[in-house]
């Protein structure tokens, strides 16, 4: 067996599905901080949501001689060949935020189903268990699909809530804004809206603010801009179920290093989510 | 004589124009039949109907007495009808061989092209036609004249029984026309029926057997060439006599002031040539096709890369990096290829005409006054006799000659001091030609200097005050006044210039 390098000689690779999102940028920053502490070297790539590019990115990182790999897959199934490549190069690979198929050494991710469930439970409660609710969907990837599943379960438990519309805002502010405007137009009596992530939420917020409707909004992620927005007096946001990208990535790195050194560790570390409400928002911040 | 081809009572209506009205035409085997008429008379349209490119509204086409209906040119080819189009109809980026055999490539059992066979056949064809062109070269690299020979070769390679030649001689110089005629005579002996369209009446008398004349889309008359003469033909075509198409020669003002001197060396050559130009003179550039007249003119206005370009205009040194620079200095050029270099095809006649002097219609700047524009356009169109339903007609739907007139009209009101006309009368009918010559004389009388590049010797001898003869990219002779004679020009045009002949004697000092 080849010799394991000391911490400060390690090359750590992380492949992101995107870096055009505060969520993942935060993750990257936290990782950088941790790696700097170790004195190691960090290589980061951005797949722009393209699974084919991500596969190439991973191959190139293997070529560059990374010792451990953190993988934030664009798609759980599609990333398999990249995982296999890393595995056959003897590189321990930990999936972050979304699971990856194939011989991964471990997985660290949010409880996405729970996040969706909690968000919509809060939403249902704030609507007193009745009314019309719409869903602002996003890119069809596993974490997002899980959230919608969770949400639907929670809404199903409130007996007088009806899901009247489901549209896709592509998790982008401008699209989400237009789509929300149109949903408001189509359903003037809308009471609640569940947005699958904060990117779409910020667009929906613009649409809600300039309408006369009093729609309650539940969302997931916990990015600073939303946390700040929900502290405003008449915010429509009732809950933002926060994930912890910084915690996730640090745990993933620790897990990967343990696998690298052959130490014992669990294969899966679920990171819990925290519902943030207007009342406790002031005290919440990623990394806090 | 048996009629191989007869067109009976053919009519065709285009939006806004009755292009053909009850026109008939009969051509026998081994006959060269001239189809004559003014620009827009309907000649090309009739031929396109024959070849299945347009469908007639009424009328019958008979081949060997059998009525035929061609739905496409492909149909016509299959029956032995071939055409050399008036408009460029080759694929510029394909090689000469590929163009000739396009659509009829010989293939092997696998369906792959037999390149070697194609090349061999092309070489054989070129040998037969005395054409000296590399069959592998891409067509866009050929001169206009060579492209024309490729088109002719393409039509001949069909072994057609009926061959239409729509103004094939327009881009050719006399020696090349002679070469074409040799080919045509041989085909006549082989019994091919030919329809020949040309605005050069002397060519008609040289080669044709019979004549049919159209006017404004109607049939005027048919007769044997032997039974008519030049003036009678002109009268049949335009309904009036044209006396002496060249305006009387006036002695050039003895020492009209020098306007321009230019010494130009093209990129990739090692010599330079110089010219001088005086106010109010018409300077001819004569020479064979490819002798470099157009290139020289283009280089002069900055449209062609040069190694040396020393130009003095009115005593001041000038540099032209683009035709726009030249235009600013008052030099404009009418290019030789109207489709590629002259017309904005999607534009109307009016927009084509005013394109480079829109500034004249400011009211206030930078906004254009439509009314002024319209007035100028109408005047210009009348001056060169453009036949079009309205100034708003898209130029694309005009006949070839009328398109050429539109491009000429662009330069009438531009207020240039120097105009370069490259083959200005290409495709223009006799009647209008006379008008254009008169116009050029009038411009010269106003003090405008004109450079006329022409492959038509009568035009050069009839109009120019001074002539420069080009050969192999060099100026080999200068002729003035009485010395301007067709024979002399041709003698110089075919002489090989001596190498290392750095400068030559034709530049005159002011």
């Amino acid at each position: 067996d080849d010799q394991k390098k000391p911490d400060n000689e390690l090359v750590i690779g992380m492949s992101f599905q995107e870096l055009n999102n505060p969520y993942f940028v935060t993750m990257q920053k936290a990782l950088q901080k941790q790696v700097d502490k170790m004195g190691a070297k960090l290589i980061v790539t951005d797949a722009h949501h393209d699974i084919a590019k991500q596969t190439s990115d991973v191959e190139d990182m293997i070529q560059r001689g990374v010792d451990v790999l953190l993988l934030n897959p664009t798609d759980t199934v599609g990333i398999q060949s990249a995982v296999v490549s890393a595995h056959s190069a003897g590189i321990p690979t930990v999936a972050v935020d979304a699971q990856a198929d194939g011989p991964v050494s471990g997985f660290v991710g949010s409880k996405n189903f729970k996040a969706g469930y909690l968000a919509c439970q809060y939403l249902a409660k704030s609507l007193n268990g009745k009314g019309q609710v719409a869903i602002l969907n996003g890119i069809p990837v596993t974490p997002i699909l899980q959230r919608v599943k969770g949400c639907k379960k929670a809404l199903g438990e409130a007996d007088s809530i009806k899901i009247v519309d489901e549209q896709n805002g592509h998790q982008e502010r401008d699209t989400a804004m237009n789509v929300t405007e149109n949903m408001l137009q189509a359903h003037p009596d809308l009471d609640g809206l569940f947005s699958v992530n904060d990117g779409g939420t910020l667009g929906a917020l613009v649409a809600l603010q300039s309408s006369q409707n009093h729609v309650k909004l539940a969302t997931i992620d916990g990015i600073p801009e939303v946390i700040k927005a929900m502290q405003k007096p008449d915010t429509p946001i009732v809950v933002d179920v926060a994930q912890h990208p910084d915690v996730e990535v640090v745990k993933a790195l620790q897990l990967a290093l343990k696998k690298y050194r052959g130490e014992k560790s669990p294969d899966e570390i679920p990171v819990d989510v925290t519902p943030v409400t207007p009342e406790n928002a002031a005290g919440f911040h990623w990394g806090s | 004589m048996t009629a191989v081809l007869s067109l009976e009572q053919v009519s065709k209506q285009f939006p806004g124009v009755k292009a053909l009205d009850n026109v008939s035409l009969t051509v026998a085997a081994g006959e060269i039949h001239a189809l004559l008429g003014e620009n827009g008379a309907g000649k090309s349209t009739l031929m396109k109907i024959l070849c299945g490119i347009h469908q007639p509204d009424e009328g019958t086409i008979r081949l060997d007495g059998e009525p035929r209906r061609f739905t496409s040119y492909r149909d016509a080819c299959a029956t032995g009808v071939g055409i050399v189009f008036q408009e460029f109809s080759l694929v510029p980026w394909l090689s000469v061989v590929d163009n000739i055999f396009l659509g009829r490539e010989p293939r092997n059992r696998l369906g792959l092209i037999r390149h070697a066979q194609m090349r061999a056949e092309a070489n054989a064809l070129f040998d037969r036609l005395e054409i000296d062109i590399d069959p592998e070269i891409s067509v866009h690299r050929l001169s206009v004249a060579d492209q024309q020979f490729v088109e002719i070769a393409k039509a001949l390679s069909l072994n057609a029984r009926v061959l239409v030649l729509d103004e094939p001689t327009a881009p050719l110089t006399p020696s090349e026309v002679e070469r074409l005629f040799r080919i045509m005579r041989r085909l006549r002996e082989d019994g091919v029926a030919m329809v020949f369209i040309s605005h050069h009446l002397e060519e008609i008398f040289q080669i044709c057997d019979r004549i049919t004349v159209l006017r404004d889309g109607t049939y005027v008359d048919s007769c044997r060439v032997a039974d008519t003469d030049h003036d009678a033909l002109v009268e049949m075509m335009i309904g009036r006599r044209v006396e002496n198409i060249f305006p009387p020669r006036q002695a050039r003002a003895a020492n009209s002031p020098l306007l321009l001197t230019a010494e130009i060396g093209l990129k990739q050559t090692d010599h330079t040539d110089s010219i001088t130009l005086h106010r109010g003179e018409i300077l001819g550039f004569a020479g064979l096709v490819g002798s470099g007249r157009s290139e020289f003119a283009m280089a002069l206005i900055g449209a062609y890369p040069t190694r040396v370009a020393q130009i003095r205009l009115d005593g001041a040194d000038v540099t032209f990096r683009s035709p726009a620079d030249a235009l600013d200095a008052g030099i404009g050029m009418l290019p030789e290829d109207r489709k590629r270099q002259g017309l904005i095809l999607p534009f109307s006649c009016a927009d084509n005409i005013t394109l480079n002097h829109l500034g004249q219609f400011y009211r206030p700047a930078p906004f254009i006054s439509r009314k002024q524009e319209a007035e100028t356009v109408d005047a210009a169109m009348d001056q060169v006799r453009v036949k079009a339903p309205s100034a708003q007609t898209p130029v694309a739907s005009l006949s070839g000659g009328n398109q050429q007139k539109v491009v000429i009209a662009r330069w009438l009101d531009r207020g240039c001091r120097i105009l370069i006309f490259d083959e200005p009368t290409r495709g223009i009918d006799v009647g209008a030609k006379a008008e254009i010559y008169t116009l050029m004389k009038r411009l010269a009388a106003q003090g405008i200097a004109i450079i006329m590049i022409s492959s038509e010797l009568p035009e050069i001898t009839g109009l120019c005050d001074r002539v420069l003869v080009f050969s192999h990219g060099r100026i080999v002779a200068e002729l003035a006044d009485e010395a301007i004679e067709a024979d002399t020009i041709m003698r110089h045009a075919v002489t090989e210039p001596r190498r290392n002949d750095v400068s030559h004697s034709v530049t005159e000092d002011a």
Partner: protein, 328 residues
């Protein structure tokens, strides 16, 4: 093949002048307009919530960003070119405005800087196309990536917020009862209309698209014209950046993906020939509004987003098929 060119108005005394109706009939935007009206009627019949003043305003406002970008795209396409970089240039200009404002610069200066940046980017495209003689599609493809990267580099991937609250006026305010994005869009079209149809430069734009070689030989400065065209495209992208940044009240570095395709669709739906030389900018407006109407109408009908793509594709095809007579 009729007079796509701006000349419809010239009268020929000796030949009859065409009536207004005939001019419209022969305009390249006639069939697009028909298509627009047809879709409008269908949408009104299918959705009872479609036809109300608020929603009409929704449609126009939602279409305004693509609409503004499509003005510059029209110029590029009329010259026979294309500008793929509009989306990222919009994003870059918007983030720069946001970034400067967030850094405390006075808003007018920040806005001016953003507009200048967009124009400069466009000018760079124009320079490569005009003087470098490179194909527009590949030049703008390259700068599209570059602008995207620059916007992300500038913000580090984060959106920029914390803009002065009055800045939201451009995206959310009204003037004389009209919403600002709509007003800005209409103004852009009005100016483009005048430039294209009433100035020499406009005529040159079409001429370059119709036959570049002939235009050059005629003595028009083709490179200068092209350079200006791409600068205009950069500028309108930056104006769109102003509107969207103000509307979202944040500088979004990654926004605008795929906008170039929507803008091209608007121009072509509006009756322009992709090969250049023909088209009218008001047709582009019709095209942009048609796209916005489709998005809005299908949303209102609650059609699933997957199905929306399919239906939208079908309707675009249909609209182009109807309008296709022009090219035939």
């Amino acid at each position: 093949m009729s007079d796509a060119t701006p000349s419809a108005a010239v009268a020929a005394p000796r030949r009859q002048r065409r009536s207004r109706w005939q001019r419209l009939l022969h305009s390249p935007m006639f069939f697009p307009l028909l298509g627009f009206i047809a879709v409008f009627i269908i949408m009104s019949l299918v959705n009872d919530r479609f036809l109300d003043l608020g929603n009409i305003q929704n449609v126009i406002r939602q279409g305004s960003v693509i609409g503004i970008i499509a003005v510059g795209m029209s110029f590029a396409i009329f010259t026979g070119g294309i500008d793929l970089s509009v989306g990222p240039v919009m994003a870059l200009s918007g983030t720069i405005m946001a970034g400067l404002m967030a850094a405390g610069w006075p808003a007018p200066v920040a806005i001016a800087a953003g507009l200048c940046l967009g124009s400069a980017f466009g000018a760079f495209n124009g320079f490569c196309v005009a003087f470098g003689r490179m194909p527009p599609i590949i030049v703008t493809l390259a700068t599209m990536g570059a602008a995207h990267g620059l916007a992300l580099l500038y913000t580090g991937g984060y959106p920029i917020s914390g803009l002065p609250s009055w800045f939201s006026w451009f995206g959310r305010g009204t003037l004389a009862g009209i919403q600002l994005p709509i007003l800005i869009m209409l103004l852009t079209y009005a100016i483009a209309y005048v430039v294209l149809h009433h100035t020499p430069f406009g005529r040159y734009v079409y001429a370059v698209g119709g036959n570049e070689e002939a235009t050059r030989l005629t003595g028009i400065r083709v490179p200068r014209t092209k350079m200006l065209v791409y600068t205009i495209s950069g500028l309108t992208a930056a104006i769109a950046g102003l509107v969207i940044t103000s509307r979202l009240m944040s500088g979004q570095p990654g926004i605008g993906e795929g906008f170039e395709l929507d803008a091209i669709a608007a121009v072509v739906l509006g009756g322009a020939a992709i090969a250049g030389g023909r088209g009218v900018v008001l047709g582009t407006l019709v095209g942009a509004m048609l796209l916005a109407m489709l998005n809005n109408g299908l949303n209102l009908m609650g059609v699933s987003s997957y199905l929306q793509d399919v239906i939208k594709g079908g309707i675009i095809l249909l609209a182009v098929y109807i309008g296709r007579g022009r090219d035939a």
